[in-house]
């Protein structure tokens, strides 16, 4: 044992060896400024480029369905991908400041209400992937985080998604994005609180509470330099944009089809304000569906452009990305069916109310 102690490095956690950027500071700063300027220039000119491409280069007729669809596609696809890249990069850096371990430490022992608020806010910034739902759930509930607070986190993490927010901002403006953020957080807080009050611990699989969660002796707790953080941002872009771009293109192509071929106001008849049943139908259809946020937003845009009511469309979007059949299947490992049903129903109800609220107010 003694030999081992002598040979270990003095620091408790070995320093991370990350292939780093490694350029001199001035060079890096100039590169960042140049990249940002280039990005902005391209972004500003996308619309005119799309018009030029469709009508000059391809020689299509103004007003034809195909031209409409093509113009939409050539404009929106690069635009969405560019927005996505810059946002995922930024959020990757923000997330380097948060780990689930840190979130857990903040939440453990907080009473409900305050805990629900914190958990919902932290859900936005803590890195989360649905395959980690089970270890995360167990880790939280076995270390002093109340069940309702854990649910607030589990609701906000997938639903109040930075990808969704920035795309909403880029396509619809800050008001819609802020609306989505505010109502998403409200649903997470209130639904989590309600589930907590219902005292449903008996419907958590018994073995969960018997699980021994080790202390988070995480090698990742070593402090990160800015170089590390930028590298994490770049990894996030490679990871997320690399995985999501086919869905974005497919979603935009679908949106382009709707944009070009579905008659104006067609959606108004089935998803418009006067169709009161459109909100519950949108929520019920959306719950089992799963799409990542990037793919569904172009569809949302096309639907809105064709006269669908904002509340109905937002409700549909929240239901699709906030709840999904794959997620329920994963959670079945730790939750019994009555609790899963309650979870989906409470969140679904919240989404429903948000949908109606906006149809009335907007």
């Amino acid at each position: 044992m003694n030999t081992q102690e002598q040979l270990l490095p003095a620091t408790a956690a070995p320093p991370r060896v990350i292939p780093s950027f490694g350029w001199p500071k001035l060079g890096r700063a100039l590169l960042v400024i140049f990249a940002a300027a280039a990005w902005w220039l391209v972004y500003r000119n996308l619309e005119s480029f799309a018009k030029w491409f469709t009508y000059q280069l391809l020689g299509m007729h103004l007003g034809s369905h195909l031209a409409s669809a093509v113009e939409f596609l050539v404009f929106e696809a690069p635009k969405v991908l560019m927005l996505l890249t810059i946002v995922v990069f930024g959020v990757g850096i923000v997330r380097s400041f948060f780990t689930p371990e840190r979130t857990r430490r903040i939440l453990a022992g907080k009473r409900e209400s305050a805990g629900n608020v914190f958990a919902s806010l932290l859900g936005v910034v803590t890195p989360f992937c649905s395959c980690s739902a089970v270890p995360l759930f167990i880790g939280f509930v076995t270390t002093g985080v109340p069940l309702g607070v854990t649910f607030s986190f589990l609701i906000s993490a997938p639903m109040v998604n930075e990808v969704a927010l920035v795309l909403l901002f880029g396509l619809f403006g800050w008001k819609v994005a802020a609306l989505y953020l505010g109502t998403g957080l409200a649903i997470a807080m209130i639904a989590g609180w309600v589930i907590g009050r219902l005292k449903l611990e008996r419907w958590v699989e018994a073995w969960v509470y018997k699980t021994v969660t080790g202390s988070g002796q995480n090698g990742d707790d070593a402090p990160l330099t800015w170089n590390d953080r930028v590298q994490l941002g770049r990894e996030a872009v490679k990871d997320i944009v690399g995985k999501v771009w086919p869905y974005v293109i497919a979603g935009i192509a679908l949106g382009a089809g709707i944009h070009g071929y579905v008659p104006q106001d067609f959606m108004a008849s089935i998803m418009g304000k006067s169709a009161w049943w459109s909100v519950p139908v949108a929520v019920v259809i959306g719950i089992p569906m799963y799409s990542n946020a990037a793919g569904i937003i172009p569809i949302v845009q096309a639907l809105l452009g064709k006269g669908a009511a904002l509340g109905t469309v937002l409700a549909f979007m929240m239901a699709v990305i906030g709840l999904s059949l794959p997620e329920m299947v994963i959670l079945r490992k730790v939750l019994r069916i009555p609790l899963i049903v309650t979870f989906a129903s409470v969140v679904g109800l919240g989404i429903l109310m948000v949908g109606y609220l906006f149809n009335i107010v907007m």
Binding site: C129, C131, P135
Partner: protein, 84 residues
């Protein structure tokens, strides 16, 4: 040296396992590699984000797939610190 890859079977966990196998091969060390999929075993390490990499009972990373250079250097430093 014992290395464990913790994960419940999603694509990322399989990718990490493959990366670790490659790193072990290139390091030339004798390593016992184990894939841990049982959730109660995973929780003993206090890990909340899978996939996770454990070398010599110490959690080196969780929730991400480290660069292969990182994995190789961890294996090397772990080998160096083991009693000969």
């Amino acid at each position: 040296m014992k290395i464990k890859v913790l994960g419940t079977g999603c694509a990322k966990c399989k990718k990490l396992y493959a990366e670790v196998e490659k790193a072990i091969a290139s390091s030339g060390q004798t390593v016992e590699l184990e894939k841990v999929e049982q959730i109660d075993e995973i929780m003993k390490y206090g890990v909340m984000m899978t996939p996770a990499l454990v070398i010599g009972e110490e959690v080196k990373s969780s929730g991400r797939i480290p660069a292969s250079s990182e994995i190789v250097s961890w294996i090397a430093s772990n080998a160096a610190s083991m009693p000969q």
